[in-house]
């Protein structure tokens, strides 16, 4: 009998109590002298059931959660002892290897998060056992041009939210005659409630590294930076560990895997500024300056880090690369729509039954994601809207749930694909309040450089505050619309340009709530509730 017990030990698992569960599990296994390997893995994504334990015996996996320390004993009894008393179906998640009995997992298509929850993120052997660094070896046998072509053919678009085709971006920097070139991974996941990148790094760090090394080979970069949030200490330490392993393995440093390629990586921890997600601000931050955006052009591909050509991709984009190289661009493109290939991960939060990290093919209707995977709103409430893309995004009302997940389709609704934040709002939420919440976030995070963003968002916020307090003025709605244009069109960088989106979309779909607020204020302090849900 070969038995493995996997326990999710990501940041979110730990927040749910996974450390206590691990200690209980470890001592019980030792005490009973069970022939069991306990594997600490990343997160499977099912945040609503964490801590999650996967018991695999002879290839047959059973998934449980939440597994509190007191549930360890009955669980071990069930599989290795006297029998099934004490294991409740309430905390049984799935008995099938393909998880088809649990739609939250069964309906997902996992590419970048494929190994999250399966392998030990500290184990290079685990990664190698699952075709790890095979894509790199394959890529090194191709020419850099062929690698770029494969990425072009895969129809991969930037997962940071704007959706610029990655292959085109790579081609731009590839063609620059200036050296050195820098490759930067934006792991400064700043949207409130978003944790896709954290989960990917904590579950499968080498997948990101492998993608970066391939990218460096393709674009001709000799040095790479991972700009990571300082608030992600576990992810950062896992990454450091993985980088050291990759160096020892020969996948980083001089003459990578004997190919002659030189490339090395440095982690830069950000200071937690939302604006550092903006490419130019991020580069200034790496240079040791204050993270402030500058005008583009020049684009990073012309003059980026320290004035040299630089390419910035986000974690999910880079984590997709090895799969594209290994399985072929056609396979990847085939997963998505005509214009956009592959899958997209979302952090599903808010008033949803089954919250967590989900990865679905581009082209999946929102309805499927919210209802089939997420199980609809919790506690019998009705869906009101979905807020996508965090503070830069917008809301999509319940009647547009047939919209498919696609950059252009989503943009048409006024929302954006975003980096993957998806907050589900039920009928108890005041949309004015929701707009206020996100706007206060952007106002706090404005770098202060340009007046529309620094002062304009403040004035918008003041208006929303007045409306919510029932002290709205007749001119407020007009001023709000006017400010949406000035801030959206007039701001210097993406942060300011997208800051009005939550207000614009709520004004578009829920103008009646603004009118009601103008007359009588909002009822109840929903903001506190929303904030609590989003950051849960």
């Amino acid at each position: 009998m070969s038995a493995i017990i996997r326990l999710g030990m990501s940041t979110s698992d730990i927040a749910a109590g996974a450390e206590a569960t691990f200690l209980a599990l470890q001592s019980a296994v030792r005490h009973r002298q069970l022939p069991v390997e306990i594997k600490r893995t990343g997160s499977l994504g099912a945040s609503h059931r964490e801590p999650v334990v996967d018991v695999e015996i002879d290839g047959q996996s059973t998934l449980y959660g939440p597994v509190t320390p007191e549930r360890v004993r009955p669980l071990l009894d069930q599989h290795f002892g006297s029998g099934g008393r004490g294991v409740s179906s309430d905390w049984l998640i799935s008995r099938r290897n393909d998880r088809s009995d649990y739609p939250f997992l069964g309906k997902q298509v996992k590419v970048t998060t494929r190994l999250c929850g399966l392998i030990d993120p500290y184990s290079l052997e685990d990664y190698l056992a699952h075709d790890g660094y095979e894509a790199l070896k394959k890529a090194l046998k191709m020419s850099p041009e062929e690698v770029v072509q494969a990425v072009l053919d895969s129809k991969l678009r930037g997962r940071g939210g704007a959706g610029f085709p990655t292959g085109i971006k790579w081609n731009l920097i590839r063609k620059s005659p200036n050296f050195p070139k820098y490759l930067i991974c934006n792991a400064d996941e700043g949207d409130p409630g978003a944790f896709m990148d954290r989960a990917t790094i904590e579950g499968d760090p080498h997948k990101l590294l492998e993608g970066m090394i391939i990218a460096a080979y393709a674009i001709g970069a000799s040095r790479g930076y991972i700009y990571a949030r300082a608030e992600y200490p576990l992810a950062v330490s896992i990454l450091r560990h993985a980088i050291n392993q990759a160096r020892e393995y020969g996948a980083l440093g001089k003459n990578i895997l004997g190919s002659g390629l030189d490339f090395d990586l440095t982690i830069k921890e950000g200071a937690g500024a939302f604006v550092c997600g903006e490419e130019t601000a991020l580069m200034h931050s790496i240079e040791g300056k204050r993270g402030m955006p500058t005008m583009r052009p020049p684009y990073p591909a012309q003059s980026g880090l320290w004035g040299y050509p630089s390419n910035i991709n986000n974690v999910e984009t880079l984590a997709s690369i090895s799969s594209i190289v290994l399985n072929g661009p056609d396979w990847f493109a085939g997963l998505g729509t005509d214009k956009s290939g592959g899958t997209k991960a979302f952090a599903l939060t808010g008033a949803i039954q089954r919250s967590g990290l989900v990865e679905v093919p581009i082209g999946t209707p929102l309805r499927e994601l919210i209802y089939d995977i997420g199980g609809g709103c919790a506690d019998g409430h009705d869906l009101k809207a979905v807020q996508m893309g965090g503070p830069s995004g917008g809301c999509i009302p319940a009647n547009l749930m047939d919209t498919i997940i696609d950059y252009d389709e989503l943009r048409a609704t006024g929302a954006i694909m975003g980096s993957g934040g998806m907050v589900v709002l039920d009928d108890t939420v005041s949309m004015v309040n929701m707009a206020h919440y996100f706007l206060s976030f952007t106002q706090d995070e404005s770098c202060g450089k340009c007046v529309p963003c620094r002062v304009g968002t403040r004035k918008m916020l003041n208006i929303l505050q007045r409306l919510l307090a029932g002290r709205g003025r007749m001119t407020d709605i007009d001023n709000l619309r006017r400010l949406c244009i000035t801030v959206g069109q007039g701001s210097l960088c993406g942060l300011g340009q997208t800051a009005p989106n939550p207000v614009l979309t709520t004004l578009r779909y829920f103008e009646d709530e603004y009118m009601a607020a103008l007359e009588g204020g909002a009822n109840g302090n929903v903001q506190a509730q929303l904030a609590a849900e989003v950051t849960a």
Binding site: R290, M295, D444, K449, V451, K459, G490
Partner: protein
């Protein structure tokens, strides 16, 4: 040469030129608050936005390089409305205290409020950074008037290289500050005051100017700085014959608008009470010449010790002073020959004076014993 169209006018430009500069050179006025010809474009004030044909959103003209065939409209209704809104936002956290403001009459924000006929903000007025620093004798920082254009930060970085200040904080209350808000004297500030010079509002003002008069009452006179050999042009603003403050001027042949701490703030020695105002004769010589009855002997203590001792001298008229000097020099030349006289001309006097001095030594006294501190 690149050809483009701005507001229907065909203009020519060099590759790499920025649209705003080209427009201004061609007499097309695009409002701007954070632009300076000697600084890299920053795009922070958003006033110079223009509509470029084919672009989805307004473009920042200060940072946009010209492209052949570009068609630009600088004054569409939407753009002008946006500019008006931007000024409206600027004055929503900038007190319009113009009547009592020392910048009144030379304030760029005031000019733009005038241009867009903004008497007060249409949004709610709210001070964002009511901080006032008076921590040095050179200039004061009154951040309630700051519009965060960042010109001070850029001049400190791109021209002076001191990097004493930067943006600090986030959001509405963000501010320009030294690291950890330490007093300027503890920062890397070199007190050149170039930030004061290019500040568009009253956020940075020379201390000597505050309360000393309105801009339009001041007379302006230019001359060359008397300190080092760079030869900066300095413009002095005077009221009632007194210097109120000094600044650079765009037509400075070598320095443009920029100066250093000595050139900008070091002029007050000129009105020091220590200035010599009448010719003096040392008392022992005065006694010898019968100008005083008291005998006196030069003390042995070093001239380096203590304050300058005017008491060792008595005042005489110019006629007396010149006569005594000429008589003495002539006497020595007649007795010891011309080479017994030496002269030090001055690296701080004019060409005309140096010329005349050495001419006197050579053609008057008759010696080449003339030198100055060129080597020192």
């Amino acid at each position: 040469m690149i050809k483009l169209t701005i507001d229907g006018k065909t203009v020519h430009a060099n590759p790499g030129d920025h649209v705003l500069d080209v427009a201004l050179e061609n007499g097309i006025d695009i409002p701007h608050l954070c632009h300076h010809k000697d600084l890299f474009p920053s795009g922070s004030c958003r006033m110079c936005l223009v509509q470029v044909e084919g672009a989805p959103r307004p473009q920042t003209s200060c940072g946009m390089t010209v492209q052949d065939g570009m068609v630009i409209d600088t004054k569409t209704g939407a753009i002008e409305a946006m500019r008006r809104d931007i000024v409206d936002l600027f004055v929503s956290d900038h007190p319009l205290n113009c009547v009592i403001c020392d910048k009144n009459g030379s304030c760029d924000l005031q000019d733009n409020a005038y241009r867009y006929n903004i008497q007060e903000t249409s949004f709610d007025f709210e001070l964002s950074r009511p901080k006032y620093y008076d921590d040095n004798p050179f200039y004061v920082r009154d951040y309630q008037y700051c519009i965060m254009c960042g010109k001070c930060v850029r001049v400190c970085d791109e021209i002076v290289g001191a990097n004493a200040i930067d943006f600090s904080g986030r959001g509405f209350t963000s501010i320009i500050s030294t690291p950890f808000e330490v007093p300027l004297a503890e920062s890397d500030c070199v007190f050149c005051g170039n930030c004061v010079q290019i500040c568009p509002t009253a956020a940075l003002l020379p201390r000597s100017k505050i309360g000393k008069g309105r801009e339009w009452e001041m007379e302006r006179r230019q001359t060359i700085c008397g300190y080092c050999g760079v030869g900066c042009t300095v413009e002095y603003a005077l009221k009632d014959g007194k210097i109120i403050y000094a600044q650079g001027t765009p037509d400075g042949a070598v320095n443009g608008e920029f100066l250093c701490v000595k050139g900008r703030f070091g002029w007050d020695f000129n009105s020091s009470p220590d200035r010599l105002t009448e010719p003096l004769i040392r008392k022992d010589l005065a006694y010898e010449l019968g100008l005083t009855d008291e005998p006196w002997e030069m003390p042995k203590t070093s001239a380096l010790k203590g304050k300058p001792k005017l008491g060792n001298f008595i005042p005489v008229s110019w006629e007396q002073a010149i006569d005594i000097t000429a008589t003495k020099l002539a006497g020595i030349v007649q007795k010891h020959g011309p080479d017994a006289v030496v002269g030090l001309t001055s690296a701080r006097c004019t060409n005309e004076e140096n010329y005349l001095f050495q001419k006197f030594m050579r053609a008057g006294v008759g010696t080449n014993n003339v030198d100055h501190c060129a080597r020192l």
